[in-house]
Symmetry: C2
Subunit: 139 residues, 2 copies
DNA sequence: TTCATTGCAAAATTTTTGCATACGA
DNA sequence: TCGTATGCAAAAATTTTGCAATGAA
């Protein structure tokens, strides 16, 4: 936050960023707000939304999608090493995994189409090993 | 719609499905509604939302995300061959591409973790060739 | 001191729901 | 005929904004 343009490092922003960085989880605005309020009773949800925009613009956090049914914006720390997500449609568990395929594909596409990539989002949905046995049917 | 459980093929559903199938685009509920209303003046937005759920459950359409800033649910026909998306952050254009990397990765993950995959969503963001020249800076 | 940031409340946006009526099978 | 689907209006859920007051630099 000690940046060029007059951005200020307020206690609110400090707390919100810390909540996101300390959580291994993937959080929506309201969850971030609830957790941050444990440290700052008066913190307002509107401040959370405004701060998320600022932190995202600064590249400190990433907004993500994990599953088609997601209705809310989801955030996680941008400091985690590049990874992707698998969501189990039965138990809802989100697993992270790594792979070189995307880096490779990215390079191929940049060469082929002249695109300059800045973000990748890959998410799989399906059934985890545990649930796959029970849920052979359905979508 | 000529299915098992008492689902009915109403004119509304027919029109909504046709709008999605005939559009090469990626549509949100309101856009679908506007286009469908050209064929059915009285069509209600609530009906569109309800129909989207039904069509999605039947596997006739897919819900997707293309970019982190997307606020609305986006749909496209499920009959298109498997493909992925790149969104230009400058001009907003959405390009589709194909690749074998995901199929391969999918198989690897199924083997490694025992997951059973049902959906993949891969989206890249960045700058298209045209915009890349002008927009070397910014997120 | 100055201007970015906050809290609060109100508005905007997007999606869902209740209910009486209409209509497909 | 029977029960699913629709239209309408109202509610819910999520995010954004206006504005006066606050506080970081």
């Amino acid at each position: 936050m000690a940046h060029d343009s007059g951005l200020r490092l307020t206690p609110q922003r400090r707390v919100i960023l810390r909540v996101i960085e300390e959580s291994g989880d993937h959080l929506d605005a309201e969850t971030i707000w609830k957790r941050a309020k444990e440290h700052d009773q008066k913190l307002n949800l509107a401040t959370v939304y405004r701060t998320l925009v600022v932190l995202k613009d600064m590249g400190l956090i990433d907004q993500r999608y994990f599953a088609r049914k997601h209705k809310r914006e989801i955030y996680e720390s941008a400091h985690k090493p590049e990874h992707y997500h698998f969501t189990c449609k039965a138990c809802g568990e989100v697993s992270e995994f790594q792979t070189g395929h995307i880096t490779e594909l990215r390079a191929e596409l940049e060469t082929e189409f002249g695109w300059r990539m800045s973000h990748s989002c890959l998410c799989f949905e399906g059934y985890c090993a545990k649930c796959a046995e029970r849920c052979a049917e359905s979508d």
